[in-house]
Subunit: 130 residues, 2 copies
DNA sequence: GGGCTATATCGATGGTCATCGATTCAGAGT
DNA sequence: ACTCTGAATCGATGACCATCGATATAGCCC
């Protein structure tokens, strides 16, 4: 943490709200930090895991709920969950026999706000200027 | 494949606005598509490139503006720009001697809305439920 | 304790990726 | 046509990563 003097984006783990990267260039350190989080999202299995956890009732899911819907082995699921956890996107806790995972909303919100486009850029899709 | 009866997200390339993955599980095809876009964002250099392009005056930047701020070689920058373009995050056009790149806001908005957390999850940071 | 189930870790393997130097392609100007 | 400059492509290389089977760890129940 710390590194408190720069004006670059996302320098701490708090929510970098209202500072989309469209506004000002990203600092190098911030870019490294954010790239690590995006890399955690760059796998289809992890993306579905995250979505499965987030949309599960109670906001958390047991690993036993997560191994079923995938074609990959249990160690692979465990690996992907570890990646998500180390990226700060999910939290986990063992309760008795089972281990539960939940999404850390602040992390998602940080990335979401970073990608936010300033104006109502939504209507005109894709190749507007192309 | 197919599994067409589900209510899964983002099955087409339109903007998946208002359908954050926190709401309902991501379909497999949608996950593959989205993972490809997030992978393009999973590199610090690409993240800074994107931010540099987006925040440049006029909303677009010449490649000659982009090779300076990095320690990597010109072919590497060119490679990263290609990755961003093929991920549908930026557009490009040659104008005379120079090639210009600009951000495609709809793509960023799509990812941003996907990561949006439903309620005001912003205030309480991280381990809320832990 | 012994066995059973749920997760995590380990080690190996095949594939993908970031990076480079060298080269090629494209346009402009002389 | 020649040359100069900006940018993309090529081929190689070392690093990283997703995946697996085998094994280890953790907690429950009898």
């Amino acid at each position: 943490m710390s590194k408190s003097e720069l004006v670059v984006l996302g320098q701490d783990d708090a929510v970098a709200c209202c500072s989309p990267m469209v506004r000002e260039p990203l600092g190098e350190e911030a870019a490294v930090d954010l790239a690590r989080m995006f890399k955690a999202l760059s796998d289809p299995v992890r993306l579905r895991l995250l979505s499965l956890i987030a949309s599960h009732e109670g906001g958390e899911a047991c690993v036993c709920d997560l191994t079923g819907p995938f074609d990959v082995s249990q160690p692979t699921i465990s690996h992907h969950l570890k990646v998500l956890r180390e990226a700060g996107l999910v939290g986990s806790e063992r309760r008795g026999t089972w281990v539960y995972y939940w999404v850390l909303p602040a992390a998602l919100a940080k990335l979401s706000s970073l990608l936010q486009t300033p104006a109502g850029a939504l209507p005109s899709t894709a190749e507007a200027t192309a």
